[in-house]
């Protein structure tokens, strides 16, 4: 990979802001547009940018495959886990009302948690898909 100084510096500068924006979208989704899915995509795009500039190998060092795969699975488990938790404490599946003493608080908590699950899985999957495409070695049969 050739190195372009400007690109490297600029992308390094941009990285924290993109990640910060992703977190903002994740947690501000209740009030403005946005939510787990969009945040996950933005989060992933930060790493895709990093991988484009510094190469997939370096980016892979920042986010190893094991962690990504763990993230993919954990997001789904978190979401489904919230549902099962509600079921165990006496509500229906995904009935957040029973998560806290006050139903509205429970709703808020439930929405927050499942959005987190969505964000986690989406970000991990998107980064994984990109790494897999970019890291794929052409091998004709």
């Amino acid at each position: 990979m050739r190195s372009y100084l400007v690109l490297r510096v600029v992308s390094k500068l941009l990285m924290p802001f993109i990640l910060l924006f992703a977190l903002y979208v994740q947690f501000h989704g209740d009030f403005g547009p946005g939510g787990g899915f969009q945040a996950g995509v933005i989060f992933a795009s930060a790493f895709i940018l990093y991988a484009l500039i510094f190469g997939v190998k370096d980016a892979g060092a920042v986010l190893p495959r094991g962690i990504l795969r763990f993230g993919i699975a954990m997001g789904v488990l978190l979401y489904a886990g919230v549902g099962v938790f509600n079921l165990l404490v006496g509500g229906n599946f995904l009935d957040y009302n029973v998560m806290a003493k006050d139903p509205t608080l429970g709703q808020h908590l439930g929405i927050w948690l499942v959005e987190l699950g969505v964000g986690l899985t989406v970000a991990s999957v998107m980064v994984t898909i990109f790494f897999t495409f970019a890291g794929h070695r052409y091998r004709p049969q």
């Binding site: 547009p33 899915f37 989406v122 495409f133 052409y138 091998r139």
Partner: protein, 117 residues
């Protein structure tokens, strides 16, 4: 009459163009792009159903009383995600097909398969 439905009809046109790309083209990547267009147009159709003239985005705030219907938005958010998942999987298959056959044209692949039989 015409203006009232114009919005729906333009969407139908886009949809059919995407659909045509999918079924008429031999190139596998172009088929996927066509699928995307087909689906994106369906999304526009759904969102059109939810629009109220003079309404605003469904985020409750003071000073607004007419909001567009949030339900189609939610459905389409889900559908977009499903769409991108399909696209990713389709493209991964295209890469593998290209490796296995050395081409991404449908008719050439058919030819290769027939020779093998």
């Amino acid at each position: 009459m015409f203006l009232e439905y114009f919005n729906y009809w333009i969407v139908v046109f886009l949809m059919m163009a995407g659909f045509y790309i999918v079924i008429a083209h031999d190139n596998l990547i172009k088929k996927i792009v066509g699928l995307n267009i087909f689906q994106a147009s369906v999304f526009v159709l759904y969102i059109s159903f939810g629009k109220i003239t003079g309404g605003t985005a469904p985020i409750i705030a003071e000073g607004f009383s007419v909001y567009s219907n949030p339900l189609p938005h939610v459905l389409i958010l889900t559908a977009i995600v499903v769409g991108v998942a399909t696209t990713a999987l389709g493209l991964a298959l295209v890469v593998r097909i290209n490796e296995a056959y050395g081409t991404i044209e449908d008719d050439e692949i058919h030819k290769a398969d027939e020779e093998e039989d």
